[in-house]
Amino acid sequence: MSGPEGTCFEGGVFPAKIIFPTDYPLTPPKMKFTCEMFHPNIYSDGRVCISILHAPGDDPMGYESSAERWSPVQSVEKILLSVVSMLAEPNAESGANVDASKMWRDERELFNRRAKEIVKKSLGLDKTDTS
């Protein structure tokens, strides 16, 4: 997945895994970035936390309405599209990564710099190579 243009993740190429359960499409697949990510809605181990990947029954964040949740009508493209939108516009309220949420809210500059580092890492460029 590549970072959306015009955002701090622009230019990055982020490998991810999508894991399908045996009763797909009745239960949602899981998505996990296999590279380092720093984003309010991505856990530090790479798991993506967006409402479209949550079954309506379980509500880890406690505020999402079931209208945004998983249903068999969703497809892989829609998931990917949602994830791209999520990269473009993090949702700091459902903080999977609390540090990142805080930084996104309060210190946007720092967050952008951190994101740029992630982008560089995803492209295999070391920090020392570019500076």
Partner: protein
């Protein structure tokens, strides 16, 4: 590495303590007395015992689980923290009984609890794992047998001890092991259900029902145990603070299990009695693919009050999980109440109204649905304006006849994406396999079914493999002009 160093250090210290004692006293019994009299020596021995427990844990883990998955590890650590805090709280209640033996028994309890949790996680994982080896079955069965035997022995021991010596701390142990025993029972039941499901070629429709009932019965037993325990504790001691959190969690999950069963039963009953079978004309007038299984619909289909049609069997499986329309998310339970209250003449239009103006013409590839994917997202919540759907249309374009997905949306969140340019998602491969979006989804689905041990889909699976082998990418058509690109890198099962 650090663990190994600490282990070695503790062994060296123990050897030194024992060696020193023996050197001083020259005989076995005096050495033992010497060690037990000296506090530092005992401290070293306690640490050694603790190290032994951890080593033992590692050994058992290796034998029964092999490598732990990251999520299992995370789960384990989180639950251990709670268990340790609760144990400390329990110590305050039983401070009179406090002794090394007491601590040792609590450690053992905690130790066994960890393996119960791991067994639970492992069996849940069966559902998501395509290949289950013989070793897996062997490990799970022996582990369950082992843990179950230990639990029942402990319960038995605690029961007799309470009868003969009256209520002591053994009551707590007896109760804790009884709870663990119910965990083992429910894990075993789920294991049996998963195994039956894996053996059968087609997905087992009623599995979800049995799972719900398993949760219900086990939830009931646990709630009963907790209530009895708290009642007894209040009577003989004080209120057991340490039991509050697990008791609350148990009550909550029991309530959820009851609720789930009632709702799904009601939805399925509605489906069988209230909803009409889809007529052949209705099936012919639309893209007659069932959105759940992505197979064509010919017979045995039901029409929901919102006019969406699905296979009856698919719908049943879905209702066991959710009681909404898979396409438009209409709450079928609420809708059916409304339907009964409405005069029959108004029936056909009424439930459709909320999204009537967004409905596509029949024949368009994918129906839009309200709220997808961010319509009611906290960022894009517009209180007064109606929710605008994201429309996904399939267009065929270009000399290579590549199917193109055009995405248009008026949701504020997508305006951002649109502001760059219209988003074009193009599905293509570097070789000559061209798949439409539906084929693509179906391919993934069938690939999945295939690796899960279903032979029915093998031809489609070959197509998928070929497709997969050609390093398929979904990418943005306008990526050539520097627009956002999605590389769909891997579709993998969890290793």
């Amino acid at each position: 590495m650090r663990g190994a160093a600490l282990t070695t250090a503790s062994f060296v210290l123990t050897a030194a303590v024992v060696g020193h004692a023996y050197y001083q006293k020259k005989q076995f019994y005096p050495s033992v007395v010497y060690i037990t009299k000296s506090n530092p020596s005992m401290a070293v021995l306690y640490i050694q015992a603790f190290v032994f427990v951890i080593l033992m844990g590692k050994l058992v883990k290796k034998v029964f689980f092999g490598q732990l998955r990251a999520s299992e590890m995370e789960h384990l650590i989180e639950r251990s923290w709670y268990a340790v805090t609760e144990t400390c709280l329990a110590f305050t209640v039983f401070r009179d009984d406090f002794s090394p033996k007491f601590v040792a028994m609590f450690t053992l309890l905690l130790f066994l609890k960890c393996f119960h949790w791991l067994a639970e996680d492992r069996v849940d994982y069966m559902e998501r794992s395509p290949v289950i080896s013989v070793l897996f079955h062997l490990r799970v069965l022996t582990l369950l047998l082992f843990l179950g035997t230990l639990d029942s022995l402990w319960v038995n021991f605690a029961y007799h001890s309470t009868l003969t010596k009256g209520a002591t701390v053994q009551l707590v142990f007896g109760f804790e092991y009884a709870i663990l025993f119910t965990i083992i029972c429910s894990v075993l039941l789920k294991y049996v259900l998963h195994t039956i499901d894996l053996q059968s070629e087609n997905p087992w429709e009623n599995k979800a029902v049995y799972m719900l009932y398993t949760d219900l019965i086990m939830g009931f037993i646990k709630v009963f145990l907790y209530t009895a325990f708290v009642a007894i504790m209040i009577k003989i001691h004080t209120f057991p603070l340490f039991a509050i959190r697990p008791m609350y969690l148990t009550m909550r999950s029991f309530k959820k299990a009851v609720n789930d069963i009632i709702m799904s039963r009601r939805a399925i009953r509605n489906m069988n009695t209230l909803y009409p079978d889809a007529t052949p004309e209705e099936l012919a007038s639309m893209d007659n693919v069932c959105i759940i299984c992505r197979e064509d619909m010919n017979t045995a289909c039901k029409k929901l009050p919102c006019n969406h049609i699905f296979h009856t069997s698919c719908l049943r499986s879905w209702f066991q999980r959710q009681q909404t329309c898979p396409t438009c998310r209409m709450d079928v339970l609420r809708a059916s109440v409304r339907q009964i209250q409405q005069p029959p003449a108004q029936q056909p239009q009424q439930p459709q109204q909320p999204q009537a103006n967004n409905m596509p013409q029949p024949g368009q590839a994918m129906p839009p649905f309200p709220g997808y994917p961010f319509g009611s997202h906290p960022f894009s919540r517009e209180q007064d304006s109606p929710m605008l759907p994201l429309e996904v249309l399939l267009l065929h374009q270009g000399s290579r006849n590549l199917p193109l997905l055009e995405v248009t949306s008026n949701s504020p969140r997508h305006r951002l994406l649109k502001s760059h340019r219209q988003r074009h998602l193009l599905l293509s491969t570097s070789k000559s396999f061209n798949f439409s979006s539906r084929d693509y989804d179906r391919a993934i689905y069938n690939y999945h079914r295939c690796t899960a041990g279903c032979t029915r889909y093998s031809t489609k699976c070959n197509a998928w493999d070929a497709w997969n082998a050609s390093h398929a990418t979904i990418y943005d058509a306008s990526s050539f002009s520097n627009d956002a690109t999605i590389w769909f890198t891997q579709v993998t099962h969890l290793a």
